[in-house]
Symmetry: C2
Subunit: 207 residues, 2 copies
DNA sequence: CCGATAGTGAACGCAACCGTCTTTTAGGGT
DNA sequence: ACCCTAAAAGACGGTTGCGTTCACTATCGG
């Protein structure tokens, strides 16, 4: 039952590469290391020493910028966050939901997606208060609102049943993606998308 | 951004109560403390010292029984786990799903439910390997199989659409419960049950 | 080239926790 | 009452990481 208790060191620059970076380049490396350490071990197990080591820099360089681990994580999240997703009118709720699912699968399979997923999994820990606001404003609520928009349009168009444009229905998509990410190993495959649409989402909203 | 970094001490026996317990009574107190510490801070932040303190015992008493923190958590989970849920034939998929949702809400609002929820949230951390087998065998798969049984009966009976008796559909219920538990503060209320049924589950499976 | 400054690497004292050990105490059984 | 033994309490040496400091070095801009 004894396993290493720390996130694994991330791969750093290749050997022979000049190691001293300044300013933005160093920050990018630090952010990358921070998100990776966060993902592989959770917030508690992520350490400033680990991040510094993975970014091949010194702790002093981290503490010159950030007072705490949480400050660093928050800045790393903000820096890596993609722009808000679009939820354009594609003429059918099915096409729109398919695009959303594809988009979210792509994000979840990315570094920032994995980090967000980790924090979502820790939302009910006491330290999650640190990130709750960010996750609600930048992840949870935009997702729900965007899908709600699709459902409203669908209701008006007629390809979504009346009464479906509510947050509970909008939350099924993110809930299923997170559950799938939790329960199964590895990346979410694209065929998951078609099954989620065909078995769950479209039957649920059909008129 | 500085907050306490450890789970809060659980309430122990009242002052003046004799503190020395032996055997099963002490183990029960230790298990309770372990699950509470696990829930409030996650696996990483739970410590043997914290558990010992919350159970008002000494570390030596813990180490006499369990070689490691993970061993303790596993035994605490096994001891606290309710018997497998029943999924009886109630004559309609609606009634059956309502009973399941009620049952799971009740479990999720309990100590063992909160602990399981915490571990579900950490399933993709490296240390989650320790509990993955347990969670799959005792939580995830029984849930999916039980709901699948309901869906199959419903298909045969005619109140569930053809093609709905698949794991993807069966996973919507636990996925939504976990998402709700993650995203919203506090206990899951019973009116959540009716909305989940009325807006999501029944529309999704209706013929 | 030179000066300013950020980065590097090492070291430091401290806190928290681990796992172990010892002495004392008290609960349970006979 | 007596005895056995598990539990309580405290201490210990070791490890890890924190946050800080310092001397040196590399980089950038003038």
């Amino acid at each position: 039952m004894d396993q290493p208790d720390r996130p694994q060191p991330a791969d750093g620059p290749a050997e022979g590469t000049p190691l001293r970076r300044r300013g933005k380049a160093l920050e990018a490396a630090i952010f990358e290391a921070a998100l990776d350490q966060l993902t592989s071990g959770g917030f508690a197990r992520m350490t400033m020493e680990g991040v510094a080591g993975a970014a091949q820099t010194g702790k002093a360089a981290l503490y010159r910028r950030w007072a705490s681990k949480a400050d660093l994580v928050m800045d790393a999240l903000v820096a890596a966050m993609p722009p808000p997703a679009d939820f354009p009118d594609l003429g059918s709720a099915e096409a729109e939901l398919r695009q959303v699912v594809h988009g979210y699968i792509e994000v979840l399979n990315s570094r920032i997606g994995a980090a967000v997923r980790t924090l979502m999994g820790e939302l009910d820990h006491e330290r999650a208060e640190l990130f709750k606001g960010f996750l609600h404003e930048r992840v949870i609520e935009p997702t729900t609102e965007g899908i709600l928009g699709i459902l409203r349009r669908g209701e008006a168009r007629g390809d979504v049943r009346r009464g479906a444009a509510v947050p509970m229905v909008a939350d099924v998509l993110p809930a299923m993606l997170l559950y799938r990410a939790r329960v199964c190993v590895g990346m979410i495959e694209e065929d998951f998308c078609e099954e989620l649409l065909g078995r769950v989402l479209l039957p649920m909203i059909r008129p």
